[in-house]
């Protein structure tokens, strides 16, 4: 068994210098630049990137210690050295009293304790990836051991916070269904994280095609000649998506103008304008400037909100890979996530009123996992397309639909997409592929009754609603959990009913109100039937199981 030695000059090599190389099967995750990355998923135990403890909190700890010491210097000295004169520099005091040796000793002991603590926590943090599970062990006093089945992976997210990026490290998060069920490998070498994700997805997909053919790591060996700084700079400027695993070009270009425009035309802008108008009227009518008290915190709040939305969407990219859709974004801290096929539980294409002029849309999805990634992730990981025009929507849907539709043929795909396209902007009417609300539903759906309707396409269920806030919800049949039919007294008087399609919880609720009672009953029966058959024929938990070696 060979232990891949990191080349000189990396943090790994420096760390190894002080201690013997890990014995036996234990390996260091920092093999970045070695090309020998696939070995991380070989079923043996591996360690994280040596800088992990520092990145996970060490830097903050040191910063806090620094601040505390700088501020409370005198008090601390009072505590330990009762006769310390109130004036004068502690350094002078040490020098005057010949305590240099002691002071250095204290500093050295504290530093040593920290380093030993970090080292032990790094030693104790192990992970392995077998053919069936990902397993992580961690903790010094309180040991945890978490195993996650590979065929239940809901997505793999690689997050590179700004500071970690400077160190060439990345956090790999394996999303599982459920609350707090994710497995985090933090931190790994930036390049080995990409390789590891590819390997995990290959194992999870159930394919028999070995990774060596397609996914062999492109020739990065040449990079070993460069020095650390050059390599970091290269990683920093490299495209978010690894070129050999995904087309380098994102299928959607999100230009700056559109991003700014979409923020300017968002609902929060209206809210902001209303607030400003209210404030101005208040000041104008009462004549006191009391309202300005709220202006500063309000401005800070809005500015940070806009900045978050903005920076979150910068460098947005989306592309298809054999193992699902990959969505990346972020300028300084980046995040990029692969969603394997069959992990999208419903899709919503929506258009707020203000976006109608420029013709922009937003695409969100429901998914079973809840990413714990803060900042960049968080909200954004249910937003697949922050803003895009009709062509973008079509491209993204084309990317997602083959997965949604499971084994749909080409004809089915274009048919399904045409149904969806007509669902986007159509005013509605008879014979547009949707079963729409009857005229009497206009009592409840004043403007949208013409387009308020549903359609069943191959592999998915499509709900169209909203004339002012246009909305289209697509639920893949194999992901449907259950379906319900509702009728209250008002609906009964109008012979109408509501349909709810139940999927895992998320920003989208797939329900449709005020449709004809008989149509609703038929839809309910049809949906109940296709939900069963689609779930039985679904193989997406091992999405490439059918592939054979060429």
């Amino acid at each position: 068994m060979t232990v891949p030695l990191p080349e000189e000059g990396t943090e790994g090599a420096r760390h190894e210098g002080g201690s013997p190389p890990p014995a036996g099967s234990l390996r260091d995750a920092d093999t970045s630049g070695n090309g020998n990355r696939n070995s991380l998923a070989d079923g043996e135990w591996h360690r994280m990137h040596p800088a992990s403890p520092l990145l996970k909190g060490g830097i903050a700890l040191i910063a806090i210690l620094g601040v505390v010491v700088a501020n409370l210097r005198e008090r601390i000295f009072d505590l330990f050295v009762p006769h310390f004169p109130q004036e004068g520099d502690p350094v002078d005091y040490i020098l005057d009293n010949g305590l240099i040796g002691w002071a250095l000793l204290v500093v050295a002991v504290v530093l040593l304790a920290l380093v030993i603590g970090f080292y032990i926590s790094w030693r104790m943090h192990l992970f392995r990836i077998t053919d069936e599970v990902v397993e992580v062990r961690s903790g010094i006093l309180f040991r945890t051991n978490r195993k996650a089945r590979l065929d239940r992976i809901q997505g793999i997210n690689i997050v590179r916070p700004f500071i970690a990026r400077l160190f060439g490290a990345a956090k790999l998060e394996i999303n599982q269904a459920g609350q707090d069920a994710n497995v985090q490998l933090s931190y790994l070498g930036s390049a080995s994280a990409d390789g590891l994700r590819r390997e995990i997805l290959r194992l999870a997909s159930g394919t028999h095609v070995s990774a060596a053919s397609g996914a062999q790591v492109a020739d990065r060996v040449g990079l070993a000649d460069e020095n650390v700084i050059e390599r970091r700079v290269n990683e920093f400027l490299a495209p978010e998506l690894d070129p050999d695993a995904a087309p380098p070009e994102s299928i959607v270009k999100l230009n700056l103008g559109r991003l700014v425009g979409s923020l300017a035309l968002s609902g929060s802008t209206i809210f902001l304008l209303v607030l400003i108008a209210a404030g101005v009227t208040w000041i104008a009518t009462t004549g006191d400037f009391f309202a300005l008290f709220f202006a500063i915190p309000g401005a800070i709040g809005f500015a940070s909100f806009y900045w978050r939305r903005f920076s979150k969407s910068l460098r947005y990219s989306i592309a298809g890979t054999p193992d699902g859709i990959r969505v990346g974004f972020g300028l300084l801290s980046t995040s990029n996530e692969t969603l394997p096929p069959g992990r999208i539980h419903s899709v919503e294409v929506s258009q707020p009123l203000l976006w109608r002029g420029p013709g922009w849309w937003e695409i969100k999805v429901n998914r079973a996992s809840h990413s714990s990634t803060k900042g960049a992730g968080g909200e954004a990981n249910t937003t697949i397309l922050p803003v895009g025009d009709r062509t973008d929507v079509r491209r993204v849907l084309e990317l997602m639909l083959p997965e949604l539709l499971a084994q749909a043929g080409d004809g089915d795909l274009s048919a399904a997409i045409s149904v969806i396209e007509s669902g986007l902007e159509s005013k509605g009417g008879p014979d547009d592929g949707f079963t729409n609300s009857p005229r009497r539903a206009a009592v409840l759906r004043w403007f949208s009754w013409r387009r308020n309707g549903f359609a069943i396409t191959t592999g998915s269920l499509v709900l169209r609603k909203g004339a002012i806030w246009r909305q289209l919800v697509v639920v893949p049949q194999p992901r449907l959990q259950s379906v319900s039919l509702h009728q209250g007294p008002i609906l009964r008087a109008l012979r109408l009913a509501d349909i709810h399609l139940h999927t895992v919880s998320g920003p989208i609720s797939a329900d449709l109100g005020a449709i004809d009672q008989d149509a609703a009953i038929r839809f309910f029966e049809d949906v109940a039937r296709v939900a069963v058959s689609a779930a039985q024929s679904d193989t997406s938990h091992r999405w490439r199981a059918g592939e054979q070696p060429a």
């Binding site: 269904a177 259950s482 379906v483 039919l485 009964r492 009913a497 139940h502 009672q517 069963v532 997406s540």
Partner: protein, 160 residues
């Protein structure tokens, strides 16, 4: 009402009529609590406490009268591949859950239900909104139904 929502060719299994008793007791208790609350509140702010009690009483009587019908409206049906559940008279709700979607089955027995020999069966899927809870099953029936559903779910298991 002629227009009631009804699924074609569904034969419903109804729950035990003893559920009426337990629902009734529950309604009486909550009415008592509500009347007590109304009395204390109205004594503080308003002297016409009797009117408040009367309003609560009228609502309670309507609820009491409707209990037997509400219980009779609860029904379920084990179809080949899914479970069909219905409840409600004024607000009707029908749910179809494929067996393969079942994540777990719960049986709950409150003190009153236990005295009456009743159980409540709850199905949990990955979607929180499924919300299928069958109250008022006889204990033996509930156990049998649970075992049957678990077996069915096992043979038709699907991912998420």
């Amino acid at each position: 009402m002629a227009d009631r929502l009804e699924l074609p060719d569904a034969t419903w299994q109804r729950v035990s009529p003893r559920l009426i008793v337990s629902e009734f007791v529950g309604a009486v208790i909550s009415t008592a609590i509500f009347i007590a609350a109304v009395l204390t509140l109205t004594n503080v702010v308003w002297s016409g406490a009797i009117w408040g009690v009367a309003v609560v009483g009228v609502i309670a009587i309507i609820v009491f009268v409707l209990i037997p019908r509400r219980v009779r409206a609860i029904g379920y049906q084990l179809r080949d591949d899914d479970l069909l559940f219905r409840r409600g008279i004024l607000f009707q709700r029908f749910v179809a859950v494929p067996y393969g979607r079942m994540q777990l089955v719960d049986i709950n027995r409150g003190p009153l239900s236990r005295m009456l020999g009743l159980s409540e069966l709850k199905f949990v899927t990955a979607a929180a909104s499924t919300g299928v809870t069958i109250p008022g099953l006889r204990e033996a029936d509930a156990d049998e139904l649970r075992d049957k559903l678990v077996a069915l779910a096992e043979t038709r298991r699907a991912g998420l």
